[in-house]
Structures are given as structure tokens and as C-alpha cells.
């Protein structure tokens, strides 16, 4: 009798199980019929699902109130969204180089992100900073660094998005204006945006740098200064994206983001500005997560909600105040290190949702973000993803192509209702400031994060490579790893030490004294910050000085003392 060899037996057994798997795959169907945020959806949507809708009132054409379908009549026929990749790596020179690379490859806007030391308001020579300078963004400690970052880029032509969110945004604005003025620009011509949303950064690891009163004070100082001096500048980008990354749902993202925006708007109204003075300059940073239709519906719902909020609650008259302007960041937390090239596919779907939602400016994540900062190849692929959507797919020809879909309109209504419910709950607590003080918002984030992990554990949410279609762990990153040059970190530390020794000490002290006076007298601090920056005061010195006036330690980490008497 012909004995089978062991290898043959193995293969036969494997084939037997494989055919079982084949049959299972063949007959497989969705396990869950819920959206990512947990809403059960029906098998099919029909005209009955929209029976009570009045088109002009609930939806309207693109460019018409309530802007459900988009803020411009012609949408992308007028101009594509800004293709803007976030760049922030090592030193200002390293970051400038990568930004220039993105421009060379067809990027249409700049987006530079601060590193953790800069966001915390620490100079690179701070004992806590030395291991971390430039790891997660660009480090700027003085006007000199901002000059290096800007280089030859024409500030009146290029739309620059400065991602500094903490109270450090006030220093960033001062540094940017100081450099622009030094280069001879009229600051009224500067185009771009600054994130300047310190409240949200309490929830993203920067709490020591973001006490609530100081967050509202300095955030609003930037807004007020720009309202009066920089008419083309968008001076706050309320960061709903970072909130979503904590694991919350789509309607929570909108409701929490709007609640935070209202904290700033209420302060600006208290300062005597009119809603139409500033609402047109408010923008939002929105997540595009992996549930395609839910994300599109979320964006459409947010537009309608914002229009009504501005008109009905704040009494805005200018239609521009009612237009929800937003940038999208595809969801970093939807990406995984397992089978990392799959992330390219996830990013494509998320970016497509953003575009179909009518986005103004888009950052696609790099596929390698669950492993390291974006490599040059990662950045390029992210930009190419945007360009393929813009130039190849044809989805840009028609405004809001999904408008009128029985399903998408119904889901838009659902997300609006859910977000409004949460906003009502916040109102009943006494508003978002109060909800923050009571740590209600902290509890929301903590609870939702745990829920998301349990959904993965149970298989309620499936992620390829994580809890379905898994494979052996990778041993390398497909397109290489981005590392921060040690040289850059050391150089930043040496540079700031040298600057502090070489500048005119008397000039700095006097400028710091004037900043302290402005803060103590309740005046807007930005003009004094600009002057101090021109005297080569550093980031930590600007912010520390204002912190002290507000009764906080000079140093958020409480290690070093103010060098000024």
C-alpha cells in the first residue's frame, strides 16, 4: 500500500480546513448592521424616510442656508479643497525641508505642527524637554526659529496653517507676525490659520499648560487681535478631530466641538465684539473616520447645526457667520500597525468621505503613522491619495453628490438629533465651561475609550489584521522608518542657550515687563508678545510671564523659576 508522506498528510488536512474556510467566506455577511457610532440602520431607505422634510428649509442648495449641502454654490468647480499635509519634524530647518518637498509634489497649502515641548510652552533647554525636542513636531523657541521655518516662503501668497493649539498659540501668532513684519509684509495680507484651541488640549495631554481661565484668555486674545488686524486670517480651528481620537462617537465629536467653540465665542461677545465680527473666521478640524456614510452624514449635519446655531442662538446676520468651514484629518486612530499597507486603503476611503462631504482643506494621514512620524514616502503617498481623488475620480464635478439619498439624508437627520441631544445635556449642566469644571467631559472620554476596546475584543467592530484576517506580526516597516536626527535636537538646545546669552538682556527685560503689565491690566497680550519676540524673548518666557500674572507657576512643569525679576 502506498503510504502518504507526512508533508502530504499536512497539505491534505490544510486543504480540508481551507475549503471549510472557503465556504464560510462565500456565505459570509455583515455581523453588525450598526454604524460605527452604534446606530442601527435599516435594510433599505425609501421616500417614506424623508416624508416630513421640506427641501429649502432642511437641506437647501449648496451655498444656501442652512448649508447642509456645502458652503459654496459651485463647490470644487470653483477651487479644489486645499491639499495640505501636516508636517512637523525635528528642527525648523528639517520641517522647512519636508514642507518644501510637499510643495514640490503639488501640495497646495502648508500645515506645520508644534512638538510637545513647544505646545507645553517649554524651551528646549528645559530639563523635561531635552529628550523630546522635535520628536512629534517642530520646535520653535524664538523669532530666529520662526525665520528658519518660514525661509523663502511668500507669506502673502501661501496659505499657512499653524498647528499650535495650547496657550502657546499666542506665542506662535506673535512669532509669525514678528517675522512677517520683519520681512516687510503688511500683516493684513497674511493668509492662513492658527489652531488656537487651548481648551481641547486639556484632553490631549497638555493640561498643565492649559488652565481653563488662561486658555480662554490667551485663545481669545489671539482671536481679538486677528479680528482687528488680520482680516484674511482664520484664527481658531476648533479641534473636533483630537476629541474624536479619544474614542468618542461622531455626534459627540460635533457636540463637544461646538460646546468648546461657544466658550470662546461667549468670551469674545463679553469683550464687546459682535458675532458677525468673528464667526466668519472660526474654522473646525473634523475627523474622517472609517464608517463612510456616517462620516459624510456627520459633516452635513454639522453644517446645518452650525448655520442654525449662529442664526437662531447668536443672532448672526452675515451668511458667512453661518457657514461651517472645516478641514479634515483622516482618523489616525483608525490605522493600525498590523499589515500596515492596509492603512493606505483606509485613508483613501476616509479622504473620499471628506471630499464627498464638501471639505475645505484636507490632511490625509500617512500610512506609517501607527509606527513613526511620516516618512517622506509616507507623506508623498498621502498627498498622492488626495491628488488621485481630485484629478482622477471625477467626484469633484458635482456639489454634495449624495444629497437626496434617502439613506444619507436620514442618517444626517439622525446624527443631528443625537448631537443636539448632547448639546442640550451640556446646556442643562450650565454650558461647556461648567461641564469641563465638573470633569463631565473627562468622564465621557474615559468611558468611550474603554467601550471602543471592548468592541474590538468582542468582535463587534472588525479591523482587518487586528481581529479578523490576522497574520504573523511584521518585523519591518515597508517603506522605512522616520527617525529624528539627534543632531537637530542637540542643535535646538544649543541654539536657545546661545540666544539667551547673546541677546540684549535689558531690552528683553523691559519687553517682558511690558507684557506683564498688559496681562495684569487685562489688556490684549498679543501686541506686547510681538514686541517681546522682536527683543528675542523665548516661547517659555512669553508664556511663563503671563502664567505668573494669572497666579500659576512660571513653568508648567514647576521646575524652573522666571529669570526676570
Amino acid at each position: 500500500m502506498n503510504q502518504k508522506k507526512p508533508a502530504q498528510i499536512d497539505r491534505d488536512q490544510r486543504m480540508a480546513t481551507d475549503w471549510e474556510d472557503y465556504l464560510k467566506a462565500y456565505y459570509d455577511k455583515p455581523q453588525s448592521t450598526r454604524t460605527w457610532s452604534g446606530y442601527e440602520v435599516k435594510e433599505i431607505y425609501t421616500p417614506k424616510d424623508r416624508a416630513n422634510q421640506v427641501y429649502e428649509k432642511e437641506i437647501g442648495d449648496a451655498g444656501e442656508f442652512p448649508f447642509t449641502r456645502g458652503i459654496h454654490r459651485d463647490m470644487f468647480r470653483g477651487r479644489y479643497w486645499t491639499r495640505r499635509e501636516v508636517v512637523g519634524i525635528g528642527s525648523p530647518a528639517d520641517t522647512h525641508e519636508r514642507a518644501a518637498f510637499c510643495f514640490e509634489q503639488g501640495g497646495s497649502g502648508l500645515n506645520t505642527i508644534a512638538d510637545v515641548t513647544y505646545e507645553m510652552g517649554l524651551d528646549p533647554d528645559h530639563p523635561w524637554a531635552q529628550n523630546e525636542v522635535g520628536l512629534t513636531g517642530v520646535n520653535i523657541s524664538s523669532m530666529k526659529d520662526m525665520e528658519t521655518l518660514v525661509g523663502e516662503i511668500p507669506l502673502d501668497k501661501v496659505s499657512w496653517s499653524l498647528i499650535t493649539a495650547s496657550p502657546t498659540a499666542s506665542a506662535t501668532m506673535a512669532q509669525y507676525v514678528a517675522v512677517a513684519q520683519d520681512k516687510g509684509y503688511d500683516i493684513g495680507t497674511l493668509r492662513g490659520s492658527i489652531q488656537n484651541d487651548p481648551i481641547h488640549f486639556r484632553y490631549c495631554g497638555f493640561r498643565p499648560a492649559c488652565p481653563l481661565d488662561l486658555s480662554i484668555k490667551l485663545g481669545s486674545d489671539v482671536m481679538e487681535f486677528c479680528t482687528k488686524n488680520m482680516p484674511k486670517w482664520y484664527y481658531t480651528t476648533v479641534n473636533m478631530y483630537d476629541l474624536r481620537e479619544q474614542g468618542i462617537t461622531a455626534p459627540q465629536e460635533v457636540a463637544f466641538g461646538f460646546g468648546i467653540a461657544m466658550c470662546y465665542m461667549d468670551e469674545l461677545l463679553r469683550r464687546g465684539l459682535h458675532i458677525d465680527d468673528f464667526a466668519p473666521r472660526f474654522t473646525f478640524y473634523v475627523s474622517a473616520h472609517i464608517d463612510f456614510f456616517e462620516e459624510i452624514a456627520k459633516i452635513r449635519a454639522a453644517r446645518r447645526m452650525w448655520a442654525r446655531l449662529m442664526k437662531d442662538r447668536y443672532g448672526a446676520k452675515d451668511p458667512r457667520s453661518m457657514q461651517f468651514r472645516f478641514a479634515v484629518h483622516t482618523a489616525g486612530c483608525s490605522l493600525v500597525p498590523q499589515q500596515p499597507l492596509n492603512n493606505l486603503v483606509r485613508i483613501s476611503f476616509e479622504a473620499l468621505a471628506a471630499v464627498l462631504g464638501g471639505v475645505q482643506s484636507l490632511h490625509c494621514c500617512s500610512y506609517d503613522e501607527p509606527m513613526c512620524l511620516p516618512t517622506e514616502k509616507g507623506h508623498l503617498q498621502a498627498l498622492r491619495t488626495q491628488q488621485i481623488i481630485a484629478y482622477e475620480t471625477g467626484v469633484t464635478n458635482v456639489a454634495d453628490p449624495l444629497g437626496g439619498s434617502y439613506f444619507v439624508e436620514s442618517l444626517t437627520d439622525k446624527l443631528e438629533q443625537e448631537a443636539l441631544k448632547i448639546m442640550k445635556q451640556v446646556d442643562e449642566m450650565g454650558g461647556m465651561e461648567e461641564a469641563i469644571r465638573r470633569e463631565w467631559l473627562d468622564r465621557q472620554f474615559n468611558e468611550e475609550g474603554v467601550k471602543r476596546q471592548k468592541e474590538l475584543d468582542r468582535g463587534d467592530k472588525l479591523v482587518v489584521g487586528v481581529n479578523i484576517f490576522t497574520s504573523e506580526p511584521e518585523t519591518s516597516t515597508p517603506l522605512g522608518v522616520q527617525r529624528i536626527p539627534e543632531f537637530s535636537t542637540r542643535q535646538q538646545i544649543e541654539d536657545v542657550k546661545r540666544l539667551k546669552q547673546s541677546r540684549d538682556a535689558r531690552k528683553v527685560s523691559e519687553a517682558i515687563r511690558r507684557l506683564r503689565d498688559a496681562a495684569a491690566q487685562g489688556r490684549n497680550t498679543i501686541p506686547a508678545m510681538i514686541e517681546a519676540t522682536k527683543a528675542y524673548a523665548t516661547t517659555a518666557e512669553l508664556l511663563g510671564t503671563v502664567r505668573q500674572v494669572y497666579g500659576y507657576s512660571y513653568d508648567p512643569m514647576n521646575v524652573i523659576e522666571s529669570p526676570f525679576s
Binding site: T117, V336, G449, R452, Q453, D457, N467, T475, T477, R483
Partner: protein, 135 residues
């Protein structure tokens, strides 16, 4: 009769990295799995973490990195643990880092490394099976 002592774990961030969603979620899930968790949170130093491990008499130190600081702090924590004689304490790392660095961190002295996308069973079971001084 002695009641069985619960496994005691420290979960911490180190340095300035503010990405704490993962560490908070892991802390909550280990508690639900019946362990006692001391959550140190953000802005910890290697010395501070090891001192807390001694004070709290823990079996496991878990540290989460998401800002590319893992190759700086991992050897510092291992060194502190050695200096303080914590040979019987497991040292686990979690977070975002290149797969190339996982063997490097093991070589440096991390007992096990968990990437993003790890399921709860994987780290709960690892701790139960490898914790060194169980009664």
C-alpha cells in the same frame, strides 16, 4: 488560610508624551480583569516610576509610548529597576513604535512589547502567565 493576593500593576506614561488614551484604557481593563492598578498617568520619570513600583509593591510595570521616545526611556527604566533590585517585576511596553524597535526594546530588557491593535486577552493572559511572584 491565605487569600490569594491580587496582581498589582503600575501603568504609566513617561516624559512629556500626552497620548494617554491607550494607557487609561489598559488600566481600566486590567482592573476589570481583577488586578490592582496604580495609574500614574502623564509626566513621570523613570526614577519616579520605579520608586512608585517599590512603594506600591507591584508585580508589573507597564509603560506606554506614542511619541518616539521609547528607545530613550526604555533603557533608563530597565537600569533603574536593576539598581533597585526589581528583578522579579515584569516590565511591559505598549504603544506606537516601528516593528524594527520591538526586538531592540526586548534586548534592552523589556519583558514584552504590545503594539496598538492588541486585544485585551493578549496582555491580560501574558501578565497572568508570566507574573513572577504569585502566591
Amino acid at each position: 488560610m491565605r487569600s490569594k493576593r491580587k496582581i498589582r500593576v503600575i501603568i504609566s506614561k513617561v516624559g512629556l508624551d500626552g497620548h494617554d488614551r491607550g494607557s487609561k484604557v489598559v488600566a481600566a481593563l486590567l482592573r476589570e480583569a481583577g488586578m490592582e492598578v496604580v495609574y500614574l498617568g502623564m509626566y513621570q520619570t523613570p526614577e519616579g516610576i520605579v520608586q512608585a513600583a517599590i512603594d506600591e509593591d507591584v508585580d508589573v510595570i507597564g509603560v506606554s509610548y506614542l511619541s518616539g521616545e521609547h528607545l530613550v526611556y526604555t533603557p533608563q527604566i530597565v537600569e533603574e529597576m536593576k539598581e533597585n533590585g526589581l528583578d522579579d517585576v515584569l516590565f511591559l511596553v505598549g504603544g506606537s513604535f516601528p516593528p524594527e524597535d520591538i526586538p531592540v526594546m526586548r534586548e534592552m530588557g523589556a519583558d514584552e512589547v504590545f503594539r496598538g491593535g492588541s486585544l485585551t486577552d493578549s496582555f491580560v493572559n501574558y501578565i497572568r502567565q508570566n507574573v513572577r511572584h504569585q502566591d
